[in-house]
């Protein structure tokens, strides 16, 4: 089985560290990069073309939904997973429309990550 490469985009270094540790513990996945805001996330996505991007919603410079739209526009076919505390319907609709295919609640819980990522294998 080929290892899936993951990019983590979140403005909080703490959340990135926790996500990275959790993901690294799961067989078949490797974190290949991190970014601290939406704009940086977009740039790094273009460079690394990861299989999966786990992205935050509320970030400086460019939020998660804007970033997802830009990634789709750039023709990058990464799976986009939104990791956020916000769960109102309107936001979920916007997110789906922007190209996000899966959701993780925040704070991240290991079982959720395992099941969400496994569904992408």
């Amino acid at each position: 089985m080929e290892t899936k490469n993951i990019l983590i985009v979140d403005d909080d270094a703490l959340i990135r560290a926790i996500l990275k540790d959790m993901v690294s513990g799961i067989n078949g996945f490797a974190v290949i990069g991190e970014a601290g805001d939406g704009l940086e996330g977009l740039e790094v996505s273009k460079q690394l073309v990861p299989d999966i991007v786990i992205l935050d919603l509320i970030m400086p410079k460019m939020n998660g939904i804007q970033m997802a739209r830009e990634i789709v526009k750039a023709g990058i076919s990464s799976h986009l997973i939104l990791c956020s505390t916000i769960k109102d319907e309107a936001m979920i609709e916007d997110a789906k429309a922007s190209g996000i295919t899966a959701f993780l609640k925040k704070p991240p819980v290991e079982e959720d990550i395992v099941s969400t990522l496994s569904s992408l294998l």
């Binding site: 909080d12 703490l14 926790i18 290949i32 991190e34 460079q47 400086p60 505390t85 925040k106 704070p107």
Partner: protein, 566 residues
């Protein structure tokens, strides 16, 4: 999830957000429609909420959540942010800082935030700006302590900014363990290190003495090399103890805001030169005096807005803190464009307080201004009508002197007041010369010495000290100390030195003076410690050091010697 390994990251990130929240709130207060500030604040609260949820700190999570909600409302309404909102969020910030501090030291953070949470929720639910909203009495905490923000000194030999430099580059999967190259160390460790190197330097000088009588070149060489290493160690420790002045100034805008709000003044505040670095102990020692000076400037310097307009000044006053370096000293000025100090009134008070009236009348304005630092004079003159608790400038002055500094005051009535602190930049280990006067031993900094002369006692009596075709004023320390002469030497040892004969901070007029001592003993490196009560009032002493054999030796107050020689 075991969160302990994430704790330091949590603290670092959260403290960063809290610092930004404070400055952003103050910026928003100045510009209540600034959308960028509102957006930034929203993200800060959102981040704190997310991180505390991840770490399992539910009360901090809930508390930041209500603040985030309030910001979310403000974002969507596009309204002007009211003063009530700013005040409530600043009070909440204080509590969050306290919670984070308690988390850091592993104490329970059981703080009741209910009332403030309700208040914030109310503000979020309130329709547009209520004019008559009950003013919250977040009465400025008049005793806000100002301590260097870092209780710990971050020692980072590689990256000066201490920034997480990995952040911008995608990291490869880590296949080896890596320790951070930034270490957090309790600040007292650095105090111990400094004390130990001080002792080391003293022991070294004792050994050097003993070694003068040896013929062993190897031993001499060994001691020489040891000496070089100890000095290098000392320099490294001194620089590791340095922190930027910014560590103190970061809390000042908030303090100025709170004090000026509480007594109806309008004050613009600015800091220049906050990048200069000083020893942590010096920063700690100057923090209270600095806050007192700024408080005095707001309380007694800056006039009420309408008074200012009447005398042709802008309604809003200005307080500027300016820091700069002058050789091995740091100068910190607190300037306000307020009403200045009434010298005439000050002189009258001094005379009423029992000072010699001729002496007081003969004083220049500049001299008379320093009277404000005399006990009993300052409080009466500077006591505020509003708070009724002016801070005695005598206490400010002695605090500054305790850390080896000097304080000077400049003022023009109706125009401005400038308080000037001159402070050492580093904790002081200096080269001193030990001097014997009868059985007493004192020391002086070698750097001050111009020349050492031997003068025949008869000549000294008849013509005094004559150097480079000039008469040099001199003081015989034996007489100044009130000691009986027991020596029958024909010659005296005379030390010529340059020093300002008076406590003027900025005048650079160091003049040549001389002092007569009995004998020169030795040259040593000494860790100079400040004098504490009851010795702080000792004449002719500004500090002390402990010799290798445990004897205390006082550091001569050359300013006083130079003054008394005249």
């Amino acid at each position: 999830m075991d969160t302990t390994k994430y704790k330091s990251l949590f603290l670092k990130e959260t403290n960063g957000h809290l610092t930004s929240i404070e400055s952003t709130l103050l910026a928003l207060e100045a510009n209540p429609l600034d959308k960028a500030s509102i957006d930034a604040l929203f993200r800060h609260y959102h981040s704190i909420k997310g991180m505390s949820a991840s770490m399992g700190y539910p009360s901090l999570k809930d508390f930041s959540h209500v603040q985030e909600d309030l910001l979310q409302k403000l974002r969507s309404s596009g309204e002007q942010v009211s003063e009530d909102v700013i005040s409530a969020l600043l009070s909440a910030l204080d509590i969050m800082q306290e919670i984070v501090r308690l988390i850091e030291i592993d104490e329970p953070y059981d703080i009741d935030t209910t009332a403030l949470k309700n208040r914030i929720t109310e503000l979020a639910d309130a329709p547009a700006q209520k004019e008559d909203a009950p003013k919250e009495t977040t009465n400025a905490d008049q005793s806000t302590p100002l301590t260097p923000t870092a209780d710990k000194i971050t020692f980072n030999p590689d990256t000066p900014s201490g920034e997480d430099t990995k952040k911008n580059q995608p990291s490869q999967v880590q296949q080896h363990l890596k320790l951070s190259n930034i270490m957090k160390v309790e600040s007292h460790v650095f105090d111990d290190l400094l004390r130990i190197t001080g002792d080391l330097l003293m022991s070294l000088s004792s050994i050097k003495n003993i070694a003068t009588s040896t013929r062993s070149i190897e031993l001499k060489e060994g001691i020489h090399n040891l000496g070089k290493s100890v000095e290098e160690l000392n320099e490294n420790i001194l620089s590791a103890r340095m922190l930027p002045f910014k560590n103190l100034t970061v809390s000042l805008p908030r303090i100025v805001r709170d004090i000026s709000k509480s007594n109806g003044k309008e004050v613009g505040f600015r800091v220049d030169g906050e990048d200069i670095s000083l020893d942590r102990s010096i920063l700690e020692g100057m923090s209270d005096p600095l806050v007192h000076m700024i408080r005095n400037s707001v309380d007694h310097g800056i006039e009420a807005p309408n008074t200012r307009v009447t005398v042709g000044k802008p309604a809003k006053g200005t307080i500027t803190v300016r820091a700069f370096e002058n050789k091995d000293r740091a100068i910190i000025e607190v300037f306000d464009d307020g009403k200045g100090i009434d010298v005439k009134k000050l002189k009258e008070k001094a005379i009423a307080n029992g000072m010699d009236s001729d002496e007081v009348r003969g004083m220049s304005n500049q001299e008379a201004l320093q009277l404000i630092c005399k006990a009993g004079l300052s409080t009466k003159i500077t006591v505020t009508e509003v708070s009724g608790r002016g801070v005695g400038m005598d206490i400010v002055k002695s605090s500054v002197e305790e850390i080896g500094g000097k304080l000077e005051i400049e003022s023009v009535q109706g125009k401005y007041t400038k308080m000037i602190m001159e402070l050492p930049k580093t904790a002081s280990i200096i080269k001193v010369l030990l001097l014997g006067i009868e059985d007493e031993v004192v020391c002086m900094p070698i750097s001050k010495i111009t020349r050492i002369l031997k003068i025949n006692n008869e000549t000294l009596k008849e013509t005094g000290v004559f150097f480079n075709q000039n008469d040099v004023p001199f003081l015989t320390l034996k007489d100044a100390f009130g000691l009986e002469s027991t020596t029958d030497e024909d010659e005296s040892t005379v030390i010529l030195f340059e020093e300002k004969p008076g406590n003027s901070v900025l005048s650079n007029e160091a003049l040549l003076s001389a002092m007569v001592v009995d004998r020169l003993i030795d040259e040593v490196n000494a860790y100079i410690r400040p004098l504490t009560a009851p010795f702080s009032k000792l004449d002719y002493a500004t500090g002390f050091t402990i010799l290798g054999d445990g004897r205390p030796v006082f550091l001569l107050d050359l300013v006083k010697v130079a003054k008394d020689a005249r």
